[in-house]
Symmetry: none
Subunit: 407 residues, 2 copies
């Protein structure tokens, strides 16, 4: 049985509010060269006071040694086993999320190449001579205009140029499906393939893609190099059961970056516009307080500082959260969890596999002897070290939203 | 998905060296009668200094309460789930390994009994009157000579006498397979069964066994009691995917005892001759340093002392490792893990299920507040308590040999 199935069976309603505050990449390392972690160094009076009345512990995003991308890291926090194939996020979607495109449930995304074909329509260069990014940006503008004049039936089109010869195509509309075969034949000397549905559900989508490709070929006909488009990796956000359906939670996502909004959308959360600073995020959440039972709040900066190898910036990012925290506490969450989707240690400048500190504040939380929110206190905390995708069960339990298992 | 499949998918090359130092049976108990464990008591300045800059934690070989044999204990350390049926080590192989026979990949091993048959060839005693071990040793010498004169086609034969009426048969050669039915009919009054292949792959092997049995019957014809041999439990080392194939690691095993060499061989490691003392083992590893990416070093003595209930001997075994340690550190492993395959507590004189201390030294290791390598510090360490077969993921991660999971 999937873990969320167990939770779904036990879920019951309650008048409680859960806040999951994700400090992206917050976990860090203690080494000879970096004797304190940013969490240990930061002046965080509000977090420390909270820690003193909370339970601390740690989460392991995937498994020991496995470094998660942001997608699996967040899906796990939302209660989905990141190793379950259903939680796999397709390449097209990843490309779009990585390019800061907003991907919604039901959108179909593909990776595109500009390519060169000869007069007979046979491909002579699948990468259009690796045109520079500026050229790709111009071509994408040309396509956008042509498609605005002659849009495909039943689908709104979003295009975003990528690096070099690459671009991303997103289709939005009712009844679209990602079961469309690649149009990239993966070799030269033959024409691009027709877009074909591999499942009857995707017929509308395939038709829209064929229309779009023919518009593109007309619009690019005079281009010396990039006179064709090749599409591959059609995919959608994973078809996960929504958190609303599973637990009866009205879920709101307050995240300033598209990747996190995309993953939240995949879990059925409502996406609420908000800024990127913690005080903006917390204010946005407070402003929509009556509308949700579960509020996912994402703060990005600690991760960026970790990737930059900037210790002081990571400390400051944590202190900024601490300064804004009273605002969030005033709203009065019944359960407040603070953690990260993974560690991004400053000495590594990368995501890592190291366990991530976790704090849970709730009336039913064991007030362990931890007096600060950092790696050492978290290691000693009452929550122990658990897989990330087990956090959801703890949040529901502390919110009084889980019935007893068995009699 | 098997855990090693996940690791295989993420594995990537690097110029790093991993050392796994197994102190067999090192974990122990603190009780009213034994207020310090051998690890806590031993004077280990080198291990303590290492602990101060390393992460500590614990491994659980199989599951809480499950005491592993040395086979499952080591397979788990090498990244194989010891509960997976593919990791099951057949009885014949275990008997051979336990009898200190060298078992290689592809060898076929069976357990043998000396037995008595009447003039009509019908078994009258399946255990030859439970002849003494000295008698079994003599008979095994007789068989060895007869087979040297008339060896079976396509197979080298190794025989080892066991306790009482028992012996072990090992066949080595190209294209052998263990799918051979027992020749022991499990009752008296009937003749021994003919060796028959239960899979066409084992025809050559069955033919060799039939030849061998007929040579044995002629050689033993004049024996008053032991005039027949019965064979059962034909088996080979498990067909595990090799660590080289899985992770691209060139693996060397430095172990002084056949059982550990056998398990290492089952995982595709190269077996390097070395002595049994820690300084010999470490010197052998240093001597072959350029040839391997993963070096498994096995030190046996702590386990033997535990089984003998000899506290002082176990302390001395640990101190001997500590004295030799600088030699190993000089070689410069990028990742060094020190642990055991299981605990062998002195008060129990047996293998046990208790979690085993684990130390990982690496540039990316969290330097926790642990200042000595013993059970108490390990319990408080940053690595937490993990299943043994998850250790491999941690070692690969610290060695920079795992890509990120998802984006």
């Amino acid at each position: 049985m999937k873990h969320y199935e167990l939770l779904r069976r036990l879920a019951r309603p309650a008048e409680t509010k859960i806040v999951l505050l994700v400090l992206d990449g917050v976990g860090d390392l203690r080494t000879a060269e970096q004797p304190q972690t940013p969490l240990a160094r930061a002046a965080t009076p509000n977090l420390d006071a909270l820690a003193a009345r909370s339970s601390l512990g740690r989460i392991v995003p995937v498994a020991p040694g496995i470094t998660p991308g942001s997608g699996p890291g967040h899906l796990a926090l939302f209660g989905y086993d990141p190793l379950d194939p259903e939680a796999d996020i397709g390449r097209g979607v990843l490309e779009a999320l990585g390019a800061d495109m907003e991907v919604r449930r039901g959108d179909v995304v593909a990776r595109g190449n500009y390519a060169t074909a000869d007069d007979g329509g046979r491909l002579t260069d699948r990468r259009a001579g690796r045109i520079p990014t500026a050229e790709s940006e111009r071509l994408t503008g040309v396509l956008r205009e042509a498609l605005a004049e002659d849009p495909p039936p039943g689908a709104e089109v979003v295009l975003r140029h990528g690096e070099g010869h690459r671009f991303v195509l997103l289709l939005r509309g009712e009844g679209l499906a990602a079961e469309v075969a690649d149009t990239d034949p993966q070799r030269e000397g033959v024409p691009p393939l027709q877009a074909e549905a591999t499942d009857p559900r995707a017929e509308t989508t395939a038709r829209a893609v064929r229309h779009l490709v023919s518009v593109a070929e007309r619009a690019l006909a005079a281009e010396p190099r990039a006179n064709r488009v090749l599409l591959r990796g059609f995919s959608s956000l994973p078809h996960l059961p929504s958190m609303t359906g599973l637990y009866g939670l009205r879920c709101g996502a307050f995240a300033g970056y598209p990747l996190y909004r995309g993953v939240a959308a995949a879990c059925g959360m409502e996406l609420v516009p908000c800024g990127k600073q913690p005080e903006e995020t917390f204010a946005a959440a407070a402003g929509r307080w009556p509308d949700f039972d579960y509020l996912f709040l994402h703060v990005k900066k600690a991760d960026m500082a970790g990737e930059d190898g900037d210790f002081e910036a990571k400390v400051e990012a944590i202190e900024a959260v601490d300064r804004a925290l009273p605002r969030l506490l005033e709203a009065g969450p019944d359960v407040l969890a603070i953690t990260g989707d993974h560690s991004t240690p400053v000495p590594m400048r990368l995501h890592s596999w190291h366990p991530v500190p976790l704090l849970i504040a709730a009336a039913t939380a064991y007030a362990d002897r931890t007096t600060a929110f950092d790696e050492d206190h978290a290691t000693a905390g009452h929550l122990g070290t658990i897989p990330s995708h087990h956090l959801m069960g703890l949040l529901l339990a502390h919110a009084g939203r889980l019935a007893k298992y068995g009699a």
